[in-house]
């Protein structure tokens, strides 16, 4: 029998993998448990966006900038198969009003460490030759990058080495607590596992896991479709999207929203992403969402009208009411930490989240102020 681990991470998505990786690197032993497979939830349904461009100045941008640095480090350590590409992003505006708003937004970001470069309309096609000719202009964000999210999660877990044990296909059914309410481990479909710390990296299902621990965390799913074209040569060099995407990401509307983010992949297919709607955990296909995504992608890149869309995939982006993740110890339940609720930015924000969790567990120095991510900020206290 192995000794009990120092911590249990629930969730083998990219956030759980990053928590396990940084904790193992800090000398802790970790068991990662997932009821499904590695990257079987939101991670596997994402596009691998590592974006700073869509974040307004504030705590999430700080987290994203720190994470962008960590991804650059990870790209040196993890194998090239994770398909890390420091390709940069290009946000484009179709009219003068959108361009003015975009320029404004970029100027505020630039004051907080984001590299931005305004691109006049006539120069857009030097950067992206297939872009529609009638766009007003754009902003180039060299720090935006991309990774293949499922492979990144898998290789993070592998890089955690001997200190990591991975238990897949095993569902956590209870959080075990001691006499003063402190976490003692978990019960799963196959038995009990003891550890002084449990990290909730259950993504869209993080609210359910919090409830098992007797605390409220209002994580809700937001459904998103990604449309996949047939394999192509490089037709889109960067991550390209229309300026309205930023407004959509921050929106509180439940209705279907689409703003196409278009990007090529090393494997060939172009990914067209980012519909958003609040329909609970309903997986059914929305032709309307796909129709709009396709239409918007073709408006940005008319050449895409001549190629085929082969398939689509959908996932649930976990969001909290203020659109910030929950990261760090939960004061309501000693020994419980949260690392979930990253909405559509979890791939990008995973390394920073993992580092924060590892530092919290080893009394290390936190890389940034995590007060905005406090898991108990929505009140509610203990759920009994």
């Amino acid at each position: 029998m192995r000794n009990p681990p120092d911590l249990i991470v629930v969730g083998a998505g990219v956030v759980g993998a990053a928590c396990a990786y940084y904790a193992a690197r800090a000398g802790l032993t970790v068991t990662v448990i997932d009821r499904g497979s590695v990257a079987g939830g939101t991670t596997g349904a994402g596009e691998g966006n590592l974006l700073v461009s869509d974040k307004e100045p504030g705590p999430e941008l700080e987290l994203a900038l720190f994470s962008a640095e960590l991804w650059r480090e990870l790209a040196e350590v993890l194998p090239p198969r994770i398909e890390y590409e420091a390709k940069g992003g290009l946000v484009v505006a179709s009219d003068g009003q959108a361009m003015a708003a975009l320029r404004d937004f970029a100027a505020r970001q630039a004051q907080h460490g984001v590299s931005t470069e305004t691109v006049p309309g006539e120069r857009l096609r030097e950067l992206e030759p297939h872009l529609a000719p009638d766009l007003m202009g754009g902003v180039h964000y060299p720090q935006d990058a991309q990774v293949q999210p499922a492979l990144a999660a898998a290789h993070l877990l592998r890089a955690a080495g001997d200190r990591l044990q991975l238990r897949l296909g095993e569902e956590v059914t209870a959080i075990l607590t001691g006499p003063s309410g402190e976490v003692r481990g978990v019960r799963t479909s196959t038995g009990e596992l003891h550890a002084p710390y449990v990290v909730n990296a259950a993504g869209s299902w993080g609210g359910e896991l919090a409830r098992l621990a007797g605390v409220e965390l209002p994580v809700l799913p937001r459904r998103g479709f990604v449309l996949v074209t047939e394999p192509l040569p490089r037709v889109v060099r960067r991550k390209v999207y229309a300026a309205d995407y930023v407004a959509d990401v921050a929106s509180d509307s439940a209705a279907l929203q689409t703003s196409a983010v278009v990007e090529g992949t090393p494997a060939g297919p172009v990914l067209i992403g980012a519909s958003r709607e609040r329909v609970g955990f309903d997986r059914s296909l929305s032709v309307e969402a796909l129709r709009r995504l396709a239409g918007q992608a073709v408006r940005l890149f008319p050449v895409l009208a001549t190629v085929r869309a082969l398939r689509t995939y959908a996932g649930f982006r976990p969001y909290l009411p203020d659109h910030l993740p929950a990261i760090g110890p939960d004061p309501r339940r000693p020994g419980l930490l949260h690392a979930c609720g990253h909405e559509g930015a979890g791939i990008g924000l995973a390394p920073a989240t993992g580092r924060i969790i590892a530092e919290s567990l080893t009394d290390g120095q936190l890389p940034l102020d995590i007060a905005p991510f406090r898991p108990d900020r929505f009140g509610g206290g203990e759920a009994r």
Binding site: E128, P231, L232, P233, R237, V307
Partner: protein, 106 residues
């Protein structure tokens, strides 16, 4: 010597007049209703695509539209499933290199 019997003979089919298509410029005989893949096979041609990564040869595999191995460029359009596309008089079939969209590369 045993005589080769074609599927058409085996089922007693009486197809209409054969016509011509071309494969990489070479004339091939096809029958009405025959798929492009069947016509190529009947002419002894087994490969009409190369893979994206290794440039390896590919032709019909499942023959029922499922595996996408038999992709060919038909009348200039890449990625047509040769096993499903019916041959028409004058069709131009060409070997597809990789994804068949080199002209779009930037």
């Amino acid at each position: 010597m045993a005589r080769d019997r074609s599927p058409a003979e085996l089922v007693g089919a009486a197809p209409d007049t054969a016509f011509e298509i071309t494969f990489d410029g070479r004339p091939i005989t096809a029958l009405p209703g025959q798929s492009v893949a069947a016509a190529l096979w009947a002419a002894g041609i087994l490969a009409w695509r190369t893979t994206r990564a290794g440039g390896r040869p590919r032709g019909a595999f499942c023959g029922i539209g499922h595996c996408f191995d038999c992709l060919a460029t038909v009348n200039g359009q890449p990625n047509r499933r040769a096993c499903l596309v019916p041959a028409h008089p004058g069709d131009t079939v060409t070997t597809q290199e990789g994804h068949g969209h080199d002209e779009l590369a930037v």
